[in-house]
Point group: C2
DNA sequence: AATGATAAGTTATCAGTGATAGATTGTTGT
DNA sequence: ACAACAATCTATCACTGATAACTTATCATT
């Protein structure tokens, strides 16, 4: 006889699928504290309460863990941008609020942001396809939302540029510059952060909207 | 007898001080290709034609090499900006031309630009004090030139922001966003490059000048 | 209950990393 | 020729990410 039902794995100490979440939780904590490269797989394993090789039953590489966290973080960004967008009419306030969502996301999630936008693919041809590809696709989804948002303002004749694609790329680059520098050059003597962000967004808005 | 003259070190095969330059050249090549933490000290040593421990006679750590390259990249930028600055009066055209110098520098010198602004060093804690200090100082010099330029326009009452420091950081971040994305995400479906650069600079100018 | 299959986790180990210690070589001024 | 010393090498350290082989726990079936 053969069974048509699926077998269920062991559930005793190891919680099966939940273990994966425990590992991700440990990795997220450590990555956020010290950055991906400064955290070892042994440290992750210890915090997760398992042996180091056991990690590789759930993730192919360490970068794979980072990629998973990255995808989830971008899902949050898409969610946030979507939520911020339905709020109201295309006004100056809502425009700046949308830009602010992006900046806040990058600052609060530097590791996913790094993986998606700051790490270059030339590191290892296979790397981008295997792990960094997923975060990049997730990031581009967020970019698409961004373009839709800009498109709304452009449809109302509020943007300086007629080309929504051009306007979006320009705005995105402007936002990315601030976020990436605050992440990669945190030691630079920036002016007070809140002042800087507000001024930067206001400048972009003045340059983009009529 | 004792000599009052300084002794000159060996000059035979090892070129003395030139060796340091050879190491830096090798490191710059590899760092630019694959990023700092994807390059091993053994690879640098091999390309430089020496043994791996010999590196440590010239640099205290691997990050120390990156820091040195960073300083030099800044120096080149300072030189270029200084040369471009003497051109003329604070007009809209000259303002955009100054921004253009920065963008062109980044695009034409992607490797130094990467090392200076895009490649992150260790999050080691001790690193910041030991090695990041020098690039930071050099960066401040480049930033200072940029701020002086902005200050000229601010003195003429042409800038939106009263605070020249704030206006400069904002502008710099805006420029860096475009340059770094064009370098790190060259495969992205950008609009025509010249159009994008011109639109970006024009947007920053509209947002920064009255 | 005993069994075979399989999932999950272990210990032991690999090659490669940045960095250090100590021996060795080569050049120099006397 | 020789002592001094800089420059470099070989050997090695502790640690990294990752793999292999083995052990244990759970399950469906008899």
């Amino acid at each position: 006889m053969k069974t048509s039902t699926t077998r269920s794995p062991r559930k005793a100490k190891g919680h099966g699928a939940e273990r994966r979440e425990e590992i991700l939780a440990a990795a997220l904590t450590l990555f956020s504290e010290r950055g991906v490269h400064a955290v070892s797989t042994r440290q992750i394993a210890e915090l997760a309460g398992i042996s180091q090789p056991a990690l590789y039953a759930y993730f192919t590489t360490k970068d794979d863990m980072a990629a998973e966290l990255c995808v989830r973080a971008f899902a949050t960004l898409v969610e946030r941008m979507g939520a911020a967008r339905v709020e109201g009419q295309p006004t100056v306030e809502n425009f700046e609020r949308s830009l602010r969502v992006y900046v806040d996301f990058g600052i609060e999630n530097p590791n996913p942001y790094r993986v998606a936008f700051m790490i270059e693919k030339s590191h290892d041809g296979a790397f981008l396809e295997k792990t960094a590809g997923r975060p990049l696709i997730a990031g581009l989804e967020a970019f698409g939302l961004f373009r839709d948002m800009v498109g709304e303002y452009q449809a109302e004749g509020l943007t300086v540029l007629d080309d929504a694609q051009l306007a979006t790329q320009t705005l995105w680059a402007g936002l990315h510059g601030l976020v990436s520098l605050l992440i990669a050059r945190a030691e630079f003597p920036w002016v007070e952060r809140e002042t800087l962000i507000a001024a930067h967004i206001a400048m972009l808005r003045r340059g983009a909207l009529k």
